[in-house]
């Protein structure tokens, strides 16, 4: 667990996550606008090599984020992989190659990319608004095209999972970040040379003093990231026995917060199809590999339901980066808890006991279709006295 639990913004702190994303969105738009990305001329200048602001700003942002996140991860403040997995999509190589060309075509035609078109629209530019409309229409058409089986097949082809340069090159992330920072500095210097060649001699270069400060900060942070490689770090030992969740607790969770839990039923498909925990997916052991549990976002807790108690979680489930639990006693325990009529509480039972019974009886009624017995009378409540005589209608 890191001090900045990034994933919690998608799960238990989702409300805070939404607020944070709105804040970040406005800040991002503001920075883009101030960098001049709301002006088509500036963006087109990038393709004509007369105005390299886009390259400089974007490369600067990439290098800052790269060295910043490896330093934070290096000192143990964030989980780099969790941040990277949520910030970057997994790789589907062929659709991404095609999609890259389509976006590039749109970029050259409108001179905006989706983000900068929103910025341009917000600064009152009609061409920006037209581009935003185009993005919306294109997204809808793209979504509708997925209904064609051939397109859907292509859309899912070439899946490679999450690919990172540091995994491919087998070096620590900090080395890659340092290299990116150096390339960014070189690109910055090279871009200004290109600007002078294509944009004319009179183009003013960027002021020297802030430029030196930026370069020094990038180099310093990159070096700090490398230094963190030397820090000692704890080894995460896999627990011997899986963490367990009781049938009662699971029932409460699938009813009250189903968005925080994902239930995988690993019994044979027939047994699972006959009866299972509400919302459970029927995933026999041999199909677990196709769920890519190591790749999916660890936002929800996994609960594995086997026929009886599990001695150890399957390897595919252990690869999951979030919390993985086993149902205590397996499906037998669930059957005994949720599918059998609970014994009525003893007279004079406390409020908590009554509430537990009510939940269990309701669950059994809902899952089996059996009629729930009437709730037991609350101890100590005075019997309702009927008025003598009554009105004509009460009989």
């Amino acid at each position: 667990m890191t001090p900045l639990p990034f994933w919690s913004l998608l799960a238990e702190h989702r409300e805070a996550g939404l607020v944070v994303s709105v804040l970040v969105g406005f800040a991002f738009g503001f920075v883009l606008e101030r960098a001049g990305f709301g002006r088509a001329q500036k963006l087109v200048g990038q393709f004509l090599l007369t105005e390299m602001t886009v390259l400089k700003v974007m490369f600067g942002a990439v290098a800052t984020a790269a060295v910043g996140s490896v330093v934070l991860a290096g000192v143990g403040l964030v989980d780099l992989r969790a941040v990277a997995d949520s910030a970057a999509s997994a790789t589907w190589i062929w659709p991404m190659v095609v999609g890259g060309f389509v976006v590039g075509l749109g970029f050259v035609t409108s001179s905006y990319c989706p983000g900068t078109s929103v910025v341009a629209m917000a600064s009152g530019k009609l061409d920006g608004a037209a581009t935003v409309a185009g993005v919306v229409v294109g997204t809808v058409i793209g979504g509708e095209l997925l209904a064609i089986p051939a397109v859907a097949r292509f859309n899912d082809s070439g899946f490679l999972g999450h690919l990172y340069l540091h995994d491919l090159l087998r070096v620590p992330p900090a080395v890659v970040a340092m290299a990116i920072a150096l390339v960014a500095v070189a690109a910055f210097v090279g871009a200004e040379k290109l600007e002078r060649i294509f944009g004319g001699e009179q183009r003013p270069g960027s002021p020297a003093r802030p430029r030196r400060a930026v370069f020094a900060t990038l180099a310093g942070l990159g070096a700090a990231g490398l230094v963190t490689l030397a820090l000692p770090r704890g080894t995460a030992a896999a627990p011997a026995a899986p963490a367990r969740v009781s049938a009662a607790e699971l029932a409460r969770r699938v009813l009250e917060e189903p968005w925080k839990v994902r239930v995988l039923d690993v019994r044979p498909r027939d047994a699972c199809a006959a009866a299972r925990v509400p919302g459970a997916e029927c995933t026999p052991l041999d199909t677990l590999a196709s769920l890519y549990l190591a790749e999916v976002a660890p936002a929800r807790d996994l609960v594995v339901v086997a026929a009886s108690d599990l001695a150890a979680l399957p390897a595919e489930v252990r690869a999951y980066r979030g919390k993985a639990l086993a149902l205590e006693g397996g499906f037998e325990a669930w059957k005994a808890y949720a599918l059998a009529a609970p014994p009525p509480p003893a007279p004079g039972a406390g409020a908590a006991e009554l509430e537990a019974w009510r939940l269990r009886a309701g669950l059994q009624a809902a899952l089996t279709g059996a009629k729930a017995p009437p709730p037991p009378p609350v101890a100590g409540a005075a019997p309702v006295k009927r008025k003598a005589g009554g009105g004509g209608c009460s009989g």
Binding site: A16, L18, V22, G124, R358, G362, A365
Partner: protein
């Protein structure tokens, strides 16, 4: 799922708490915006120089009030009995106050608008008014010598209308979220801010826009202070009030409230309007549009959260 068996949340068992739908927040939004527009156009009319567009703006309030009353009418259970509001005045009932305030708004804004127009604009209007041309000219003749008094009346009626939209909620004291006397002033300043934002969407001159932006900034500042007081008051109150505060501080309305009202509706437009003046940026519709969205969200969230 047999929810009746498990949670007992059923309209057949428990009394229904959610009785106000989209009509009420929309009406409160339009009413507040009309109040703000009335106050600000009356203040603008007192300025020596006015653009031709600004002279038309007093007529925004009656249009907004009419649309808002249309929404309110849709909410009435016995629509044919609406005239009964005007057979009596009950000074203890905010709805009775509101019904009469809404009636006062029309003559005041229309006459003030006629007084604010230039002569050729009045002729243009009379030319298009058909059989009402005589009425337009008579109204203008009546309003011109009383322009000053009409402006005062417009500011007064605007304040009454703005405060009333908040009091309408706060008299329902059993709802902890609405049971605060701060809702009246809160809705008034929010109405002032949305009214300024609405007027900024028209092609007023840069000076007039600057005038409106200054009022908007003042209103936003007051609104932030009142919202903070409201939340502090609720969070330090009894269990019910704390429950109401929790809806906005961690509960299910947290994200919409902070994202739409506080960030998008108050902080960002205030920052944009400040930057517009400081950096001499071109004025856009973004800040006013955000203020309007924030004002509608505020009322929508308060009305919805108060009915849980």
């Amino acid at each position: 799922m047999h929810e009746l068996d498990i949670a007992r949340h059923s309209r057949f068992v428990d009394p229904q708490l959610h009785v106000w739908g989209w009509e009420i927040p929309v009406y409160l939004f339009l009413g507040g915006m009309a109040a703000g527009a009335m106050i600000l156009t009356a203040l603008m009319a007192a300025r020596p120089e006015r653009s031709r567009v600004a002279r038309w703006l007093p007529f925004a309030a009656p249009v907004l009030v009419s649309i808002g009353m249309g929404a309110l009418f849709l909410d009435l259970a016995n629509k044919l009995h609406v005239w009964r509001f005007y057979l009596a005045f009950r000074w203890t009932s905010p709805m009775s106050w509101g019904a009469w305030i809404l009636i006062v708004v029309y003559p005041v804004t229309l006459l003030q608008g006629l007084a604010a127009l230039a002569d050729d604009q009045v002729e243009w209007l009379a030319g298009r008014a058909g059989p009402l041309a005589g009425l337009v000219r008579a109204g203008r003749a009546f309003a011109l010598p009383r322009e000053r008094a009409l402006r005062t009346w417009a500011v007064g009626a605007g304040i009454a209308l703005g405060v009333y939209t908040g009091i309408l909620l706060s008299t329902l004291g059993a709802r902890a979220l609405w049971g605060s006397a701060l809702l009246g002033p809160l809705f008034l300043v929010s109405g002032l801010s949305t009214g300024a934002a609405l007027l900024m969407l028209f092609r007023v001159t840069p000076e007039e826009r600057h005038f409106l932006a200054r009022w908007d900034l003042l209103a936003i500042g007051l609104e932030v202070a009142l919202l903070a007081l409201l939340l502090v008051g609720l969070a330090t109150g009894d269990a019910q009030s704390r429950g109401a505060a929790d809806l906005l501080l961690g509960g299910r309305f947290t994200a919409p409230f902070w994202a739409l009202v506080v960030i998008a509706g108050l902080a960002v437009p205030a920052a944009l309007e400040l930057l517009e003046t400081r950096l001499h940026l071109r004025a856009t519709w973004v800040a006013p549009a955000l203020v309007l969205a924030g004002g509608l969200s505020l009322r929508w969230i308060l009305v919805a959260a108060g009915q849980l």
